[in-house]
């Protein structure tokens, strides 16, 4: 397989530019290229070479195959694939907001959950809402790709109330960070 060489490609391109254009003209072209960039996929060769994740039903976890996107107060809501604890959506908060009087933790454990509507995987930050007693409503325990204490960022048993005034755990949110 021929491997794309970004260095030599960039060098020959720049040499062609330098030899055939004025400085001002080159700036204009670069400007046009920058504007047009979002239209084209970035690094097309790298993308073509990357293995496409298998999102077929056969490749999904049992949680992902049964997930839904309409009711975020149920444990099978798609973003809850690795949540553990009470859902803030059941206790006066929302999918990414804490109930009144609680404080969101700035750090969290994370999960990678598949949205059944588009079949794509997204990075979810499970930010605990802290400073109030355990609400004990709508308790869920998703465990997709959930690990143990030596990989803390993927463990959902830890009380993730760090950087807040008080570490008392109240409930958990599932904040969408972006495509995984």
């Amino acid at each position: 397989m021929t491997i794309f060489n970004a260095d030599s490609f960039g060098e020959s391109m720049l040499r062609r530019f330098a030899g055939g254009t004025s400085r001002r003209g080159m700036l204009a072209r670069i400007g046009a290229a920058l504007v047009a960039a979002p239209v084209f996929p970035v690094l097309p060769v790298s993308r073509a070479e990357a293995a496409k994740p298998d999102r077929s039903p056969e490749a999904k976890t049992v949680f992902a195959r049964n997930a839904q996107t309409s009711d975020d107060t149920k444990c099978n809501y798609w973003r809850y694939c690795a949540i553990d604890g009470s859902l803030c959506t059941c206790s006066g908060g929302g999918i990414h907001s804490c109930p009144p009087g609680a404080e969101p933790s700035p750090v969290s454990w994370v999960g990678t959950c598949v949205n059944p509507d588009d079949g794509k995987a997204y990075l979810i930050a499970y930010r605990d809402c802290c400073g109030k007693a355990f609400v004990n409503k709508c308790n869920c325990d998703g465990s997709d790709r959930e690990t143990q204490l030596y990989t803390q960022q993927l463990n959902n048993d830890i009380i993730w109330c760090f950087g807040v005034k008080n570490k008392e755990y109240h409930c958990s949110t599932a904040v969408l960070v972006g495509a995984a």
């Binding site: 976890t61 049992v62 750090v107 007693a133 465990s143 790709r145 959930e146 690990t147 143990q148 030596y150």
Partner: protein
């Protein structure tokens, strides 16, 4: 209870005549309520007293109630009797003095319940009176619960090790004889403290290795084995088992691979084997849509060290169901790599332990009311590992960790 307090308060204020009238009224009510056969009962005035407890025994089990209810109950598995409660808070960690003199509780509190200054400390309880003897301040500790390896003691019981995650990973070392915090040792990328006699500690690490933590000198020396497991693909359950006589740790991964490691300054890890294959079942896999037997639970394995039998909570399902409770307990003979017995079990227990007697008893507990995540106390069962017979059931006993004395 409230009415008793009310009368006591009245007693301090009212004249003697009214007090006498009140007492007479109370006495009359009590007499009227007495059954006709009560003539043999003592009517001598009594004084309040406080019971004491025997030192810990190998047939005792310690059940934490879980995430919602504080307290660790002590039960005697010989007669099913409830003995006493040790004051562990929610997310507290209990360590039992190997000499049987003390119970140590690692805990966290704030000066004004939900705000104020955070305080982390080890409470020291006398094992026979359960009276608080004192506490030892520490800089911090992880708040997680249901782990056996966040607060452990050295084999001589003189040193306590508390895992801290702030979120910087470290160990707090406490001198339990002088009752004094000694030092903090950074432990990047590792957790699950395991005793490593003569060396200090061992721990599992995120690169799939086992760390040996040498605390014998002034400077901490941490060395790691070559990676032998996938911390994200097929993690080893935190609640590993330690066999002090063999200086060996027994570990099980999500797919059901069984590892043993000989500890020391340079630990050596054995070639793993599949618990499913040891039972004549297809090896566990990480692929979805592949229903098989898998280990699972919060505390899914228990080792009877004298016989070398490992008892594992097993359920049927797909991969990434590692928190699910069990429908069977598998009895694995570590020496022959054979599952010698499969015991069906009710109530989907997710926590298991075994007493270290010559004729041991298994104890299991499942989730309580509200199901997974609610953390309410579930029912515990004491089982005969030879037959699976349920010896005792403790209603609403716990859903947290089960510990034993050995």
């Amino acid at each position: 209870m409230k009415s008793a307090v009310h009368f006591r308060n009245l007693g301090t204020r009212l004249p003697a005549a009214i007090r006498l009238a009140c007492t007479t009224m109370l006495g009359a009510t009590a007499l009227a309520a007495m059954p006709a056969m009560a003539g043999t009962a003592s009517v001598e005035p009594e004084e309040s007293s406080v019971a004491t407890l025997a030192p810990p025994k190998p047939n005792w089990v310690y059940l934490q109630r879980g995430f919602v209810l504080p307290g660790t109950a002590i039960y005697d598995t010989a007669d099913g009797k409830y003995l006493a409660q040790i004051e562990t808070p929610i997310l507290g960690d209990l360590a039992i003095d190997p000499a049987g003199k003390y119970y140590y509780v690692a805990e966290t509190a704030w000066t004004r319940r939900l705000h104020g200054t955070r305080q982390d400390y080890i409470s020291v309880y006398d094992a026979t009176t359960l009276k608080l003897e004192g506490d030892i301040d520490i800089p911090g500790r992880i708040l997680v619960g249901s782990r056996e390896h966040n607060f452990i003691l050295s084999d001589d019981g003189k040193t306590g090790y508390i895992y801290d995650f702030s979120p910087i990973s470290s160990i707090n070392v406490v001198d339990l004889v002088k009752r004094k915090f000694v030092r903090n040792v950074e432990l990047p990328g590792c957790a699950d403290l395991i005793p490593n006699p003569g060396v200090g500690l061992a721990a599992l690490c995120s690169d799939g290795s086992l760390a040996s933590i040498n605390l014998t000198g002034g400077k901490t020396d941490i060395t790691r084995t070559d990676p032998f497991f996938s911390a994200t693909g097929d993690p080893i359950f935190d609640n590993v088992e330690f066999d002090q006589a063999k200086d060996e740790v027994v570990m099980v991964s999500y797919t059901g691979l069984v590892y043993t490691a000989k500890l020391g300054a340079k630990p050596t890890v054995s070639t793993p084997f599949s618990i499913q294959e040891a039972a004549g079942v297809r090896k566990g896999d990480t692929k979805p849509n592949d229903v098989n037997w898998y280990p699972g639970g919060a505390q899914p394995i228990a080792l009877h060290t004298a016989s070398g039998h490992l008892f594992v909570l097993m359920h049927t399902g797909e991969y990434w169901t590692h928190k699910r409770g069990a429908s069977e307990i598998w009895d694995l003979d570590l020496a022959s790599h054979k599952v010698v017995k499969r015991l069906p079990v009710e109530g989907e227990p997710n926590v298991i332990n075994i007493t270290q007697e010559a004729k041991p008893k298994l104890i299991v507990v499942g989730e309580g009311e509200g199901g997974s995540g609610a953390g309410l106390a579930g029912d515990a069962e004491v089982l005969d590992p030879a037959t699976g017979e349920v010896k005792y059931t403790f209603k609403g006993a716990g859903s947290g960790l089960i510990q034993v004395f050995h």
